[in-house]
């Protein structure tokens, strides 16, 4: 029997090959990435941040209550509007145009929407609400649309055929997906609270605004308090988010921060018909000038931006995968004891709850600008999410009575069984990693967001538009590739918790 190594024709071997290629791409990305620690004494800075985290100062921030209320108000209004619009779009999910439109609006990050909208509606509630509502409408449309697609068609088929389609819908379709829609909207509100807080980084008056100021000025205790408040909001969500109270919350949000349009129609028209128009066309040039303009933009900004975004995203994907594989046993009932699981749960909750944008910001302060803070932040946050989902999935496994323990159990019994789910979660998250990678540019990491942020600062919105379209293209490309790979490996996240 000894001789050349055997060829395995196993299902696991297919997954291993795909993982091998992705891992190789990740390693190449790490080799190309700028991983420098540019801060002179990162240890000392880390100590100071750590001390701040241990001594939160809840009284230092002026207007804390106001920021907290704004964060909540933007999130509530944004989700309400997004869910309503997404629901309407979901009814037409079978139309290609609706799917493409939804994919495009959700490919643009909340912060990019915020940067664009701010030019029209200023630093107002409307900007904050729309920055959340627009991409969320796309996300809701997709999720609700897929719920409807997967719902059992039998009840609708069983109804007598008449022309009152709406009645059909409310009696035979909606009840089947109602519970899932409700649960998903609750989860989205949690995301919206994070998004709302992050919008502070571009100047909107939410928690993130004060948090950024505090950390930039070295008031780590004050910043820590703001971070803990965000944790508190998100972690207590399930206690105070009751369906019956929802109208009340929404009403309060509308009264506290009414999303009124304060700008003029003229600003909007000028922005769309002039500011967004490429400079050569605005100045009367033709296709030739436009091509030159685009060429320059490509070599100077889009090209490097796309490359850095890809490199950072792929490196973060590899780190995410490795961390998820290491972290999920910490929370799985198949491993460890009660104490180790409690600790694992705590670590995962903290990493999942902290927005990756905040994590990147903290690492940036401690390590200085390079790709390293971005890779660490995305890897830790997404790794924790995938570890959590994988661990939850492992609760459904029943191992045989004589199953091995420890590392043997992990490698032989558990990992092979969970691997398709793990891989599906990872590929599904890849698109989100890319979205977040682009936006990290706002912090000064040279991904596409960096060039977008600079173009806004220079009032060159024609460039902003093209650069944002480049992020949309990149996201759609990665999403298509991930979907292709999932289909090829016959991986599915259907029927599993989505996050």
């Amino acid at each position: 029997m000894s001789g050349p190594a055997p060829t395995f024709t196993t299902t696991a071997a297919g997954w291993r090959r795909a993982s091998g290629w992705l891992g190789l791409a990740g390693l190449i990305a790490f080799a190309c990435a700028d991983l420098a620690i540019t801060r002179n004494d990162p240890g000392a800075e880390m100590m100071r941040v750590g001390l701040g985290l241990l001594q939160p100062d809840f009284l230092a921030t002026e207007g804390l209550g106001r920021a907290l209320a704004n964060t909540l108000a933007f999130a509530f209004q944004g989700v309400a509007l997004g869910a309503a619009a997404g629901f309407l779009l979901a009814l037409f999910w079978h139309r290609r145009a609706v799917r493409a439109g939804a994919a495009s609006v959700r490919a643009i990050h909340e912060l990019f929407w915020g940067l664009l909208l701010m030019q029209i509606t200023g630093l107002s509630t409307l900007t904050g609400v729309l920055a959340i509502a627009l991409p969320y409408a796309g996300i809701f449309a997709k999720v609700f649309g897929e719920f409807l697609e997967e719902a059992d068609p039998a009840p609708a088929v069983a109804l007598p055929d008449d022309r009152r389609r709406l009645g059909h819908f409310f009696y035979a379709r909606l009840p089947l997906i109602w519970a899932s829609c409700k649960a998903y909207t609750g989860y989205r509100l949690e995301c919206a609270l994070r998004a709302s807080a992050i919008l502070g980084f571009i100047g909107l008056p939410t928690l993130g605004f004060h948090l950024e100021t505090a950390f930039r000025e070295g008031h780590y205790g004050e910043g820590a308090a703001l971070l803990y408040l965000l944790f508190l909001l998100i972690l207590t969500l399930r206690f105070w988010l009751r369906p019956l109270l929802l109208p009340l919350y929404l009403l309060a949000a509308l009264i506290w921060a009414p999303p009124v349009w304060t700008g003029s129609l003229q600003t909007l028209v000028r922005f769309v018909t002039q500011d967004l128009v490429p400079a050569p066309l605005k100045n009367g040039g033709g296709a030739g000038e436009l091509a030159v303009w685009l060429g320059t933009l490509w070599t100077e900004q889009i090209g490097p931006g796309v490359w850095h975004t890809l490199v950072l995203g792929l490196a973060a994907l590899l780190l995410t995968a490795l961390l998820a594989l290491v972290l999920f046993p910490l929370r799985s009932p198949l491993f460890g004891n009660r104490a180790s699981r409690a600790l694992g749960h705590f670590i995962l909750v903290v990493l999942r709850t902290t927005p990756e944008f905040f994590l990147a910001f903290f690492f940036l302060i401690m390590l200085g600008p390079s790709m390293l803070p971005g890779i660490l932040a995305l890897g830790l946050h997404t790794g924790a999410i995938i570890a959590h989902l994988t661990a939850r999935f492992s609760e459904r496994l029943t191992l045989r009575d004589d199953s091995a323990r420890g590392l043997n159990r992990y490698a032989f019994e558990v990992l092979p069984r969970l691997y398709p789910n793990f891989l599906a979660f990872l590929l599904y998250r890849w698109e989100i990693i890319m979205r977040e990678t682009a936006v990290l540019g706002i912090l000064g990491i040279h991904t596409l967001g960096f060039y977008i942020d600079s173009s806004v600062a220079e009032f060159r919105f024609d460039r902003t538009l093209v650069l944002i379209l480049a992020t949309v293209g990149l996201n759609l490309g990665v999403d298509a590739f991930s979907r292709w790979l999932r289909g090829r490996l016959r991986l599915s996240t259907r029927g599993q918790p989505i996050e």
């Binding site: 000894s2 299902t11 696991a12 009575d401 032989f412």
Partner: protein, 228 residues
């Protein structure tokens, strides 16, 4: 394979006296009295739901380190090869690093030892194919292989040959019993139970309604077990 001294042969291996067995709150055996000695081969018979699987699980709990285990639901890892599923039976015999190495790239000696087991089970050509690509009978033989590779003296098996044809089933059962000094096997084939085992225990509604040397039993005696 495992030499046992005469004293060991007589020693009670499994012993229950008025034991309550069940799952959680559900009682399957209200008060079980049973002794099985080292060296015995026992066939467990009885209609489904009579408590065969419960009894086997309870036996295993009494001597985990002595028992090779072959449960009814097979519990293989479907995406891994026959090789790895059989190898899994022997994980406790080797160091963790050696096991992990076998998962990625087995050494020639690891391959040979597992291949020998697979050969006897007629699985040599499927050794590196994953279990999810096998037939029901092939998967069942893999499960038996996993128990054999455990290399422990007492076999506890639950319907290990139910998916195999008569001849293959009998041959494999005989071969498997020869490699263990004691065995308790849940069966549904009555003729095979009489032919291959020394002792037959008949279960019904959580009670032992029959317990006799198989030499003293006829097929008709066993039929009464299944009558309503």
């Amino acid at each position: 394979m495992n030499a046992t001294t005469p004293e060991e042969k007589l020693a009670p291996l499994f012993h229950f006296q008025g034991a309550r067995l069940g799952h959680g709150r559900e009682t399957v055996f209200p008060a079980l009295d049973l002794t099985i000695r080292r060296g015995e081969t026992v066939a467990l018979l009885g209609p489904s739901g009579s408590g065969k699987s419960t009894l086997l699980a309870a036996l295993r709990r009494q001597h985990e380190s002595l028992c090779a285990w072959c449960p009814q639901e097979q519990a293989l890892v479907p995406m891994l090869s026959v090789f790895h599923n059989i190898y899994m039976g022997g994980l406790h015999r080797f160091g963790t690093w050696r096991n992990l190495r076998a998962l990625v790239r087995p050494t020639p000696s690891q391959r040979d030892s597992v291949a020998a087991v697979a050969e006897d089970l007629g699985l040599a050509d499927k050794l590196f194919t994953s279990v999810d690509r096998l037939s029901g009978g092939q998967a069942q033989r893999t499960a038996l292989g996993r128990a054999l590779f455990t290399e422990r003296p007492v076999l506890l098996a639950d319907e290990p040959i139910s998916n195999l044809d008569e001849h293959q089933g009998q041959a494999l059962l005989g071969d498997t019993l020869r490699r263990h000094d004691s065995a308790v096997v849940a069966m549904h084939d009555r003729a095979l139970a009489l032919a291959c085992f020394e002792r037959v225990i008949g279960l019904r509604h959580g009670q032992t309604v029959l317990d006799a040397p198989s030499a003293s039993l006829t097929l008709a005696d066993l039929d009464t077990l299944y009558q309503p």
